[in-house]
Symmetry: C2
Subunit: 248 residues, 2 copies
């Protein structure tokens, strides 16, 4: 095991930070690492917005469900899928790219490019001894986020990434069994075995919560996930993305 | 600069591999690293299919536009956005999750989760001295890929990741200027400055190709990207995803 794999394997989300801010050098190193990630056909379909204005951070924290650590951290990056850039390029090159920019394929490309870049940023930050947490909660109200960050049409803020010096380190949550996530040659065809794996994982997760909360929390993973999906969260997303003339 | 950041910054895609296969231990380390990535609300909405069957690899290489390295490498991972798992969980928990699973928000969650996991896998592999290349070309014909890998409804193979011992190391392509990708507090509002940055980058890219091809290749980045977008690639994607009752 090398240093990089150790860094990756010891990841846990950090939600409580010291007051210390990241330096300009740290921020630029993290952004350069993000940019080093692979990108589909070299299109680099993302923009990263660093938020240093404390009132903007507080507004974003409110959108994300009043999560204090969105406002109080070493630095807040907002990772945006960016297809606006190609509108500008379309004008510069005088090439009609409208149908392509608006397509579901390019929407997927932008999401994937953005996430690959973000994960490089996360790993780079963690390798510097910093803690990180993704803030999907920004998607609670993207209209508001776009207003705060003054993003043009076709820029979709996908998530935040808070980075900082950890005040408190959480335990690591066990992941799905490797043989449930990783199949060979074909998707696992045996539904009974599939469910058996999920039940085994439910036991792992119950034991984990039981231990962490001294018996107070008893939920299983499938119970937790079904509750999350039952909530019908962010159902406005389809129309919001369409209003940006994307994902068509 | 630490070892991890060095690994991240020296990334380049590798498209020519030695014949040597990855060991079981290497494969499992890479998958465990993938699983260590952050995941939205802990849903872990992806499945990784390792392809070892040479005839399947050849079929996938054909889909990806006859790219030889898709068949000839140390290992081929196919990263799938997986919302099928939650259909099973819906039955297990007897909770109606249909609308949520089918939503654009959950489609985005699955794409992001899958990409974060994949980038961890990529970095882990590179830290082991292996080379990698993402294979977005699988999206040329997802119906065929799903057939080869026998994936159920609501499993979308997003891309491949080939890994192996590099036979040939390419040069690194320069990325967009940092101040073009990274803005602070608001999205860059000055379109003139934005275009000036793109023109500066065009010069960087022209110089890069000029040097790499002894003057044969003269394309700019915006020229290249506009040609890519003009192609209207994979326009079937919208309907394909809808047929899986996703992204609604």
């Amino acid at each position: 095991m090398n240093e990089t794999i150790e860094t990756i394997l010891k990841h846990r989300s950090v939600r409580q930070f010291q007051e210390k801010k990241l330096t300009r050098e740290q921020i630029e190193t993290i952004v350069r690492c993000a940019q080093a990630a692979s990108t589909s056909s070299f299109v680099q379909a993302y923009t990263i917005i660093g938020v240093t204005d404390q009132s903007k951070k507080q507004q974003l924290a409110q959108v994300a469900g009043n999560q204090k650590y969105v406002a109080d951290n070493g630095h807040l990056f907002v990772f945006c899928a960016d297809l606006h850039r190609y509108d500008i390029i379309s004008k510069m090159e005088n090439v009609n790219m409208e149908e392509s920019i608006a397509s579901t394929e390019k929407f997927m490309v932008a999401l994937i490019d953005t996430a690959l870049a973000a994960q490089n940023a996360a790993i780079a930050a963690e390798s510097l001894g910093l803690g990180i947490c993704y803030i999907g909660g920004l998607r609670n109200n993207l209209e508001k986020v776009c207003e705060i960050l003054k993003t043009p049409k076709r820029v979709i803020p996908l998530f935040g990434l808070v980075v900082g010096y950890p005040e408190k380190i959480n335990e690591q949550k066990p992941r799905l069994p490797l043989n449930h996530i990783y199949h060979e040659n074909t998707y696992q065809q045996n539904e009974e075995a599939y469910i058996t794996q999920l039940n085994a994982y439910n036991k792992t997760i119950r034991d984990y919560y039981n231990k962490r909360t001294n018996g107070k929390r008893k939920d299983s993973w499938t119970g937790q996930v079904s509750a999350t999906f039952a909530m019908k969260n962010r159902m406005y997303m389809h129309d919001f993305i369409k209003e940006h003339h994307l994902n068509k």
